[in-house]
């Protein structure tokens, strides 16, 4: 295994074991990161050790002893380090701790990437096109806040689980979206891969929960169409124009299987429903043969549970093929207040106006959409339509 991959697999469990043993998130994360830095210095030259977790724990223990010489408080904690062994759900506890709703809104994603995925501050800063100092400060503040507010290091008790799981799923979904359709780059495959990896871990560790499976299916259904998302010049290719023979049909079948498995648990939720909608698209042989009625019904169900203007906009796109472009346009226009600053509202209006034979208005809507997005692949698509 390559050093970076081995480190990524080992660091989360090791950090988790240290947090559990020491009961101090900030300290544990610091010594784990020190160990990770040593690993990145030595593994490429010396080779990955047989047991990377044990190697990291030993180095982390030495770092803690170094600090102990400087700090009296550690003296009492030190014996606990000998008992530190990565347990199965340490990484899951870490994920829940990093995604606590009491942390600053922008903290969970950065903290998760750092503590659970083992990314460096520099890598996180690159991924979010932010300065290293900003990210480092964000992480330091979040770690202090975990300690100060009394956020516990463990998978939440059953009575707190529902509200906390939602938060974790939201962070993973955000991470995936940032990777899949980044705000300023065409895509960030590494972030999308991290989101998929974490969601798969979550689904494995919580086999009785359907929503992690739903999110995993959603991520993999998007991933199965990756090869056709962009044209040769890097412009976003709309679903309708994608070559469906180039989709990964084995991956689609497997992900659809996840949706079915989640569905059998009898607790539908927003991620399962979104995955089911994607599965409808992925299984259709062509845009025209898509089961639009089923998609509209799934959106109705989604909106009942998670009302939101973006889902309503997507429902309107499907409604066009069930009830005609005029009805769809009326729906879209009703969302103008809520989504006036969202480029896809205007891009959708443009398509509907063109279908209704109103090209001048369509052009104005496309221009409005173009002014509202910075993503280069989406801009290229809109520019083609305006050319």
């Amino acid at each position: 295994m390559d050093p970076a991959g081995a480190l990524r697999d080992a660091l989360g469990p090791v950090t988790g074991a240290l947090v559990r043993a020491l009961g101090d998130f900030e300290l544990a994360e610091d010594v784990a990161q020190d160990a990770a830095v040593s690993a990145l210095e030595r593994w490429p030259a010396e080779g990955v050790p047989d047991n990377p977790r044990a190697w990291l724990l030993t180095v982390a223990r030495h770092r803690a002893i170094d600090r102990w010489r400087r700090e009296a408080r550690l003296r009492a904690l030190l014996p606990r380090l000998d008992a530190a062994e990565p347990a199965r759900d340490d990484r899951l506890s870490l994920l829940f701790t990093c995604c606590h709703p009491a942390l600053a809104r922008e903290a969970p994603v950065a903290l998760t990437l750092r503590a659970v995925c083992g990314l460096t501050v520099a890598e996180i800063a690159r991924a979010f096109l932010t300065g290293e100092a900003t990210i480092a400060q964000r992480i330091v503040r979040a770690k202090r806040r975990i300690v100060a507010t009394g956020i516990a290091f463990r998978v939440p008790a059953p009575e707190h689980l529902a509200v906390r799981l939602d938060e974790v799923l939201a962070v993973l979904y955000l991470l995936f979206n940032e990777g899949y359709l980044a705000s300023a780059a065409a895509e960030r495959p590494d972030l999308a891969a991290d989101a998929e990896w974490l969601t798969a871990e979550l689904a494995t560790l919580m086999p009785g929960e359907p929503e992690p499976l739903g999110l995993l299916a959603l991520i993999r259904l998007h991933g199965a169409r990756r090869a056709t998302r962009f044209d040769a010049r890097g412009a976003l290719r709309p679903l309708r124009a994608q070559d469906r023979s180039r989709w990964d049909h084995a991956a689609i079948a497997a992900a659809t299987g996840l949706v079915v498995r989640a569905g059998r648990m009898g607790r539908p939720g927003p991620y399962q429903l979104q995955a089911a909608i994607l599965a409808c698209h992925a299984e259709a042989r062509s845009w025209e043969e898509t089961d639009w009625l089923q998609i509209v019904l799934l959106y109705d169900e989604l909106l009942r549970r998670a009302p939101g203007p973006v889902a309503r906009l997507n429902r309107a796109i499907a409604l066009r093929y069930v009830a005609g472009p005029e009805r769809a346009l009326a729906e879209v226009d009703a969302l103008a207040d809520a989504l006036g600053g969202y480029h896809l509202l205007h891009a959708t209006r443009a398509e509907l106006l063109r279908a209704l034979g109103r090209p001048a208005e369509a052009r104005r809507a496309d221009e409005r959409a173009l002014a509202l997005t910075a993503n280069p692949a989406e801009r290229a698509l809109l520019e083609q339509r305006l050319a």
């Binding site: 606590h100 009491a102 009394g150 956020i151 516990a152």
Partner: protein, 115 residues
Amino acid sequence: MKYLFLFCGTVEQMREYETLREEELAARLGAVRGWFETYGDRVTTSGRLQLPDAATTVRHRTGDAPLVTDGPFMEGHEVIGGLCVADVPELDDALAMARDWPGGGTIEVRPFMAG
């Protein structure tokens, strides 16, 4: 860990209690009393405060005598209407209590310093 709960609301929300019909007031107060009963083993101190116009502020100044003024020290849209202190294992327990609060308004949950 010990947490302070500050129950906040607008002055209008607090005055609304004065205009309620008797049975509705009794129902609301009953719900709040029920909350304190439910969490009785965790709440160590609690109390309802009079409106902020009953407050007096004493402000210390360097090199000058303390200044005493009428009214609250901070003019804000939302004011503190009551407080309680609860001793619970972790933040999630405190947040679950705050979510469960039947009295409406906004609740600030803040941990005490250790020691």
